[in-house]
Symmetry: C2
Subunit: 295 residues, 2 copies
């Protein structure tokens, strides 16, 4: 029992392969390596993108990608999601054709790839999001969350070369999903929330990836007011977090972290005297660093 | 003197900003954070993409991106590259309009974003590349290269949250370029090679990023026969490396690594008795792990 609603399944079929090679002394070695598969996403009749992914949870991946690209909105009714694992295609069908198909067709006729327009739309929505000011996270809760996330069995601990994202309540981690792409992992969480009608307003989002502009934008679009990462920041990520009033916590290792935005949501209740939790968490952090170094 | 032809310039204007925040005890802290800027790339009159980048070396970034996307080929003559840092746009002009503009227009009319066609073209070229079978790398050379790369001043050591790519000769690292996106860093190296007519056949490519399919494809397109990473593998990356005959070395830390493809190019000359180089390199590796943990 991991205590998670959804936890990684590192030994599930098809997620890793055992490969043979040589170590630094020229001796044969075998190690588990994560899979990487293409997934082509359609919205109704419109092909949108082919992404390289871990391959699990294609329906969450597709719904979350479309939601985070602003191609699906909260009111849109999904009538079906079909996945064909022979040809690596997933089709999301909506009750009414969204306005995205026409918009994409128009945009791509005028100036190439649709990234520009889509991004413009996303920023319009970004500016309308109001994050819950009452959601809080204490430093002792943060330390406990990090420890639980870093010690539960995962593809990261088994094979490395993978990113993880975790949707959390302040009291416990809820949904931990991994992917070779950090944005895919975020999208799968967003898809899980969209398909299960889960609100982000009282949640915390934990990622192993860096706090770049894209990560901040996606977290805000999901309505989640607190974003935590083991990794560092970019200046644009911090600027957007400040603009949206997002609490941004980076370099979270053991009992340490740095917060560069929205610090009013943080309750500083962990003191250096609280040795037990701290030591446990430092141990988990050291384990993680060991894996980082060797995997 | 770093001994590099091009080394990172961590203190250059505009690459980092000092930001203020709170640490885990709620105390004020200031730290350097890397910049993240949009860069819109045009090929002649065709807008191709807007990427989020560190912002330095926009001309190498544009040329390398277009080369690695197969939109520029070795024979194409670049008549000029114009960069406007007010509006973050770079335009690559060629003597003859390439066939990519028409292809992009055609593709995007039929099925959305052009990723599919472009990818198909890339794989056609991937399959024609023949990597030099005579290029070799000894394990003692690899240890020395890693040590030099990990100890030279860099944005990574200063601010973290960044990827680095290094074009190396077996004897020494040549060109070390960083970016917030690992693929941007690769593209900048490819652009430097394209613009300076540098052949990859006798080179080694070192990256801090994982050995995914994209990383393998780009290395092969650059004609470089040996790819080394501090990070791990994906199964598809290994499969493509084996298909192309690329030497693939991952998890390179100190005197350790794992090779999963093309091991015939590796000379195993480092013995456990060579304590000096080993210890120095382990120290550099430990320093790096410390920074990974704290930044």
């Amino acid at each position: 029992m991991s205590g998670f609603d959804i936890a990684p399944e590192p030994d599930a079929d098809g997620l890793t392969a055992n490969l043979q090679g040589l170590d630094a002394q020229g001796q044969p070695i075998s190690l588990p390596v994560v899979q990487e598969r293409p997934l082509t996403i359609y919205l109704n009749r419109q092909e949108v993108i082919t992404a390289m992914t871990l391959g699990d949870r294609p329906k969450e991946m597709a719904a979350g990608f479309l939601f985070n690209q602003n191609m699906l909105k909260r009111g849109d009714v999904i009538t079906g999601i079909d996945y064909d694992d022979e040809i690596d295609v997933v089709v999301v069908r909506t009750a009414h054709e969204t306005d995205y198909e026409a918009k994409l067709q128009k945009k791509i006729r005028t100036s190439g790839c649709a990234q520009g327009t889509v991004f413009g739309d996303i920023m319009e929505r970004f500016e309308t999001v109001s994050l819950d000011p009452d959601t809080q996270l204490s430093t002792s809760q943060l330390i406990t969350l990090s420890k639980q996330i870093n010690t539960v069995p995962s593809l990261y601990l088994k094979a490395g070369a993978i990113h993880g994202c975790v949707l959390c309540a302040p009291e416990r981690p809820l949904v931990y999903i991994e992917d070779i792409g950090r944005h895919n992992a975020v999208d799968k969480i967003a898809g899980h929330m969209f398909l299960n009608n889960i609100s982000g307003h009282d949640k915390i989002f934990y990622t192993t990836g860096r706090l770049t502009s894209e990560m901040v934008i996606k977290t805000v679009l999901m309505g989640i007011p607190i974003l935590v990462s083991r990794s560092g920041f970019t200046q644009k990520g911090v600027e957007l977090a400040q603009q949206a009033g997002l609490t941004l916590i980076g370099r979270a290792r053991g009992s340490r972290f740095i917060a560069l935005s929205g610090t009013q949501r943080i309750i500083f209740d962990h003191t250096d005297n609280a040795e037990d939790a701290d030591n446990l968490s430092e141990k988990a952090s050291a384990q993680r660093a060991f894996y980082d170094q060797t995997r």
